[in-house]
Amino acid sequence: MRKAWRLRTLVLVAIAALLLAIWAFPVLWALLTSFKTERDVLAYPPTVIFEPSLRNYRDVLFGSASLLPNLLSSVIIAGASTLLTLLFAIPAAYALARLEFPGKRASGFYVLATQMLPPVGLIIPYYLVLQKIGALDTYAGLIVIYLTFSLPFAIWLMVSYFEDIPREMEEAALLDRAGRLRALWYVILPQARGGIAVTTIFVFLNAWNEFLFAVVLGGNRVRPVTVAMFNFISVEQTQWAKLAAGAMLAMAPVILLGLFAQRHIVKGLTVGAVKGGGRR
């Protein structure tokens, strides 16, 4: 019995280790690369022991092709689109989860249907629209475009969280003289915070990691870090070490956010698995 249990644990750990290795290898490789000189990067066979240097980071941060402005752009774009998404998605999801209104089913389906279109198919129409209204290569233009796919996603995700909160919660709040808005604010939102956190993270990460729309619809004045890193790949050569350092910088906030929010994400993904969490 005990032996079987041990074997099982061992196998599970081995599988987990393998998956972790597969996932972590490129990241670790990029991390190593970011501390190498360009010459070491191209060495064959690859060197594992080398003299680490922070030069790439210095170049990428403070050199002529500094990524700092691009990181700032990414923060603005991802931050603003996340905030706006939450601002609109929370009331929308709440309404879809709770209120009865004509066309509710249809609008719910419409929200989901927008997720079925391949984003690439939308680039040209978006480009033309933005060009017409003079919003190409502007923060506002890119943020609005990001909203078109983050909003439906966020609404769809959060509806299920709101539906999970018993209706009696807000009925109690309504009877306790809170009114709808304060019921939402004091009673419903605090209970949905796991779901809101998960949604926030997903939306932020999507916007932060987005490349395709940014490169086509932005590019010059508005150039998030994902696009800017592309500059290290040119016709003549690819500056692998700088690319790696840039990638590390671009990844840092993502990883920090992931670590910080891990608890929420895990809790959020298992929502409904354990009903109520001590509510009764």
């Binding site: 009696e168 919660m169 109690a172 306790d176 001590g278 009764r280």
Partner: protein, 368 residues
């Protein structure tokens, strides 16, 4: 858990809530699409009354309570509280408090914050909130648990917390939606008594929904019996028990409920299971009826209706004997240990004045 009833000091401070609380519901209709949940309901509840809405699930009692609370829009009719028409008022503007079946405690707030919530929503000064919360918590004996979260409380404590949240507002009306149904049997009996004491002490009007007839009969001043979206009888528990308005009510009230047997009326006698039973009062009609007899009114005797003993259930202080009368099983309840055994052939009899006679068809209304 202490069980001394509500703390007297705290109750005295809470007593001022006993003002008003008269409820009138007029012609209440509730439709869900093609389905009619309530068919034109009229109901009057006096101030200070403990009023139970009793009925099987789906009979409309909870819908009625929710309409009173303002949580459910109605299709027709008016709701009046103390003579004021509140039909179109929001739940929070009706000065009513509700205890939900699930308690609906806010899980992210401490017990203190839960109880304080309705006061904070009307911007009550901080020290006043503090005092009112402590008083309300003391009344239901949870003043030592104020720092906990609802999830850290037992079922009974959660129930008290929900009660305190209702008490703290000093509302004119308490609405209780099956508040005891999530408690275990022993606690339910204890809390039932306590709830009654508390309501008396506070003098507040209470409307109490339950499907448990015993609960309604023991706790309420008056009971409205609901069946299929209609009130079929309103009265004091003893009245409903003694003179059920229809065979349906009769078959719902009492434990076990009244035995109902098909019978025929001919002149001055009643034929049930092939046996003629004399009746002492003229019914003014002939034909098929339903005869009702309470289990406790049945006796095993030397002659009477022939029956076969089907099952003997010994409950300790009482015994229920299931009797097969021509294929119909009726129940007899006795305090004396009966000398019969399963399979015995016996005769059962009952006093004439223990007979309830109902229409066989239509509304199964009481005839006599």
């Amino acid at each position: 858990m202490s069980f001394a009833g509500p703390s007297q000091d705290a109750v005295n401070r809470g007593r001022s809530m006993a003002s008003g609380g008269r409820v009138s519901m007029r012609g209440i209709v509730k439709r869900h699409g093609a389905f009619t949940a309530l068919h034109g309901l009229d109901l009057d509840i006096e101030p200070g009354e403990f009023f139970a809405l009793l009925g099987p699930s789906g009979s409309g009692k909870t819908t009625t309570l929710r309409i009173l609370a303002g949580l459910e829009p109605l299709s027709a009719g008016r709701v009046l509280l103390d003579g004021e028409d509140v039909t179109d008022r929001e739940p929070g503007e009706r000065d009513v408090a509700m205890v939900f079946q699930s308690y609906a405690l806010y899980p992210h707030m401490s017990v203190f914050d839960n109880i304080a919530f309705p006061l904070r929503m009307i911007a009550t000064p901080k020290d006043e909130v503090e005092r009112a919360v402590r008083d309300a918590a003391a009344i239901v004996h949870i003043d030592h648990l104020l720092a906990r979260r609802p999830g850290q409380l037992s079922g009974g404590q959660q129930q008290r917390c929900a009660l305190a949240r209702a008490i703290v507002r000093k509302p004119r009306l308490f609405l209780l939606d099956e508040p005891l149904s999530n408690l275990d049997a022993k606690l339910r009996l204890e809390t039932r008594v306590e709830l009654r004491k508390l309501q008396r002490a506070l003098g507040v009007t209470a409307v109490y929904v339950t499907h448990d007839q015993e609960e309604a009969m023991t706790i309420a001043d008056r009971v409205a019996v609901f069946m299929e979206g209609r009130i079929v009888q309103i009265g004091r528990p003893q009245e409903i028990f003694a003179r059920p308005a229809s065979a349906i009510v009769a078959g719902f009230i009492g434990s076990p409920p009244m035995n109902l047997m098909p019978a025929e009326v001919h002149d001055d006698k009643l034929t049930v299971a092939g046996i003629d039973v004399p009746i002492d009062r003229p019914l003014g009609r002939a034909g098929p009826v339903t005869l009702g007899v309470r289990p406790a009114a049945l006796r095993i005797a030397a002659n009477g209706l022939p029956a076969r003993v089907y099952l003997v259930e010994n409950l300790g202080d009482t015994t229920i004997v299931d009797l097969d009368i021509g294929g119909l099983v009726i129940k007899l309840r006795t305090e004396q240990p009966p000398s019969v055994r399963e399979g015995d052939s016996v005769h059962v009899t009952f006093a004439r004045d223990a007979m309830h006679i109902f229409e066989r068809d239509g509304g199964a209304r009481r005839i006599s």
